[in-house]
Amino acid sequence: MNGTPDSTFPQLLAGLAQEHPDRVALREKRYGIWQPITWAEYEARVRRLAHGLASLGFRRGEVLAILGDNRPEWVIAELAAQALGGVSVGLYPDGVVDEVHHVVDHAGVRFIVAEDQEQVDKLIALRAGGRLGSVEHIVFYDPHGLEHYELDVLLEFTAVERLGERLEQERPGWLDQEIARGAAGDTAVLCTTSGTTGKPKLAMLSHANLLSMGTSLMSLDPIDRDDEFVSFLPLAWIGEQMIALACALQAGFALSFPESTATMRNDLREIGPRLMFSPPRIWESLVSSVQVRLSDAGQLKRAVFALGYAIGERVADRRLSGRRSGLLLGFAHVLADLTALRPVRNQLGLVHLRRAYTGGAPLGPDVFRFFHAIGVNLKQIYGQTEICGIAVVHRDGNVRFSTVGLPLPGTELRIAEGGEIVLSSPAVFSGYYRNDEATAEALRDGWLYTGDAGYLEEDGHLVVIDRATDVMEADDGSLFSPAFIENKLKFSQFVQEAVVFGGGERPYVTAMVSIDMETVGTWAEREHLSYTTYTDLAQKAEVYDLVSRAVARANADLPEGVRVRRFVLLHKQLDADDEELTRTRKVRRRTINERYGSIIASLYTDAKAVIVPSVVTYQDGTRVEREISLRIESANGVARDRPRRGRQPAGVGGRD
């Protein structure tokens, strides 16, 4: 099965359905059982829905919006639109009404496929406000709770499929012609950019863009039809589009959709994926879960893990630099793997994992090191929505935690003036949808200007510093990336999110930290520390001490000039609903700077505390404004009791 960048997704689907009609294409856990859908069934459902959409008037080139969690219907809807020569645009299921409106309005969407009552309610709210002018049909696939809705635009998914069945009988062969008319250069999806700097833009990606990226990746790391992939990240995200569609349709492996967000961990374990591509927050949360389990484990287990981890780390260090382990170390590693490392991989559901990638944001080196030590060959991917998600990737046996690796075959990379990373490849998008101004800025002479600052190391490895606009200059004139320091802080299981300030007018580096309610809560329980709410917990002196130690540990790894001098624990968690994070959980620095100006200002005075107003909206709609005093702590230097770098197992390190 090789890449065929001159075809379209629906053409590839037809090929797979013919070659392997009875192999499993999709699997969904429903009612506690993994329910398979074969390639033949998958294609049949896509054809039925495509006919159904056509009989409702869906036209070539038209945009279909899809709003929901990962389900077979999601990908079926996307492929149905593409079979008709249309384009799909995915919306983040947790997006609020305004975000949905922005995309639907901008793309002039007439057809929306929405999952359930929750999503349909958002659309109804928009309609009631007269803001859903273009939409003519809302197709839903989970009817629970929608039985009594009386709206003429509402249609059940199965009803559209039934409509399609009729058309299919009336005009056999018609859809095959439509699919054959599709060209690889047609736009396949509009993909929302993450929008750290403003409203998300819609990048137009063609079948050829997506498939060529898949081909290039698979030429390095072959993926075949026996691979397994659990699709749990939003399909609106380029990374998920890339694996679940572009790669799956070329390699022919099966996708599995978990039962619900709550069961995701367990479902992942049951499938045991061989392929994973996740943003850092997923890998970070896996590390946290190991740290939590370890801190609850007995002395013996902790000792066995610490020993096994130390051996795993040494072997990983050698492997990553291309050296082999000696006989003795090799033997020790076999034992360590059996007793300590494999059980941990098993708990995480990563035993069968063959290809593991992280992308979308930088991953802290400590998290990286952890996975390599337990035997997961995790590799960094660097890319953007505009280049189908992947441009640069680590190679096996040549992984360095501080770099993002080498360009994919077929990808050209150069560093432009000011250190901006500039890329060119067949996967570069054709432009932003209805936004020529932004297109002209990003695409110049066929090169994609990424807006990221970076440099090349001697051996060709790319180092990404940060978004060019985020890079800061320290007091001593050195450049630094706030994200790098933030990742250091976030390695502590108690820190959920951290935002670092500094550079320019600011004489030193400071941080605003939001604690992880779950881990800090568990810790407080064990320490017999009573608390009521998140705000209360975050302002406990003991919790400040706890975070203070994490800050000291992070400082130990940082150069003098960019150590965190003062920090504050925020009274709330940063939230995408409050526009503080993007839907892909990236910090929106501009919003943070505007909203928390007074806190940031106080970080640069001698103040011991800062008063912030906080508006609480109760469920019945009443709002109460009250003032909260946040303590500001000075970080006292670096951790002195830190053992030799890298020798401390992550689980034990996070305990105090």
């Binding site: 009612y31 506690g32 629970h144 709770g145 039985e147 199965t158 039962e259 619900s260 709550a262 069961t263």
Partner: protein
Amino acid sequence: MSRAYRHDLNGSGLKRGSLQLDIDGVSLRFGGVQALREVSVQVRQGDVHAIIGPNGAGKTSLINCVSGLYRPQAGAIRFHGDEVHELTRARPSRIARWGVARSFQNIELFRHMTVLDNLLLGRHVHMRHNIASALVYLGPARRQEIGHRELAEEVIDFLELQAERKREVGTLSYGFQKRVELGRALCMQPAVLLLDEPMAGMNAEEKEDMARYVLDVNELAGVTVVLIEHDMGVVMDISHRVTVLDFGIVIADGTPAEVGADPAVIEAYLGEAA
């Protein structure tokens, strides 16, 4: 292919609004204590009917009379199904089979069994095969077992218990255990669901969740709910009809608005809170 549920959780064949449960002049005495004095309540199909009152008003005693745990000395309780059943003389197991399901004020689950097994237990009244065919697990026994599991899974989906399906009930939080108890009662496909203080001992968030599920059971699944509750706020928000008991006597009966404005109620019950 549709994701709609295949099983109807509402076991009542009556039309919405027709008389489902007719409690007629029930009196109950424990020695010298008069727990209930000629209590009459009419519950209609499709309603959420709340029974409220101060501590010791006789609310639980009344529910226990309906589900057959207590035998009232006087009065009748008529349950309208295919035919009219008199409940005051029937065994609890019989009453359950006719379609009256209940939950308890103190959780009465099998703590060492999984959520799924506890729910399947709710299917017991519908299991028809005998022990011999169940042992060999062939033919009809197998088909039935699969059908029961299917219904239990729909209840799990309905109450969003997927992540807890295989966990032992004893390890779950109080709020979840209450939800499992509701689920087990629902698995019976009841005509009337008696809930004895489903929100007692919960925090505001858990209460809100539970209120949501009770509403879903009523609105989406169409099951008639008789709700004993202490929390006036919840009752007034989600009930169609409210009966107020005080010292074993009905002192008011009507819509939440009517009852809330009744001076006798305000004095007996709301008065202490205000």
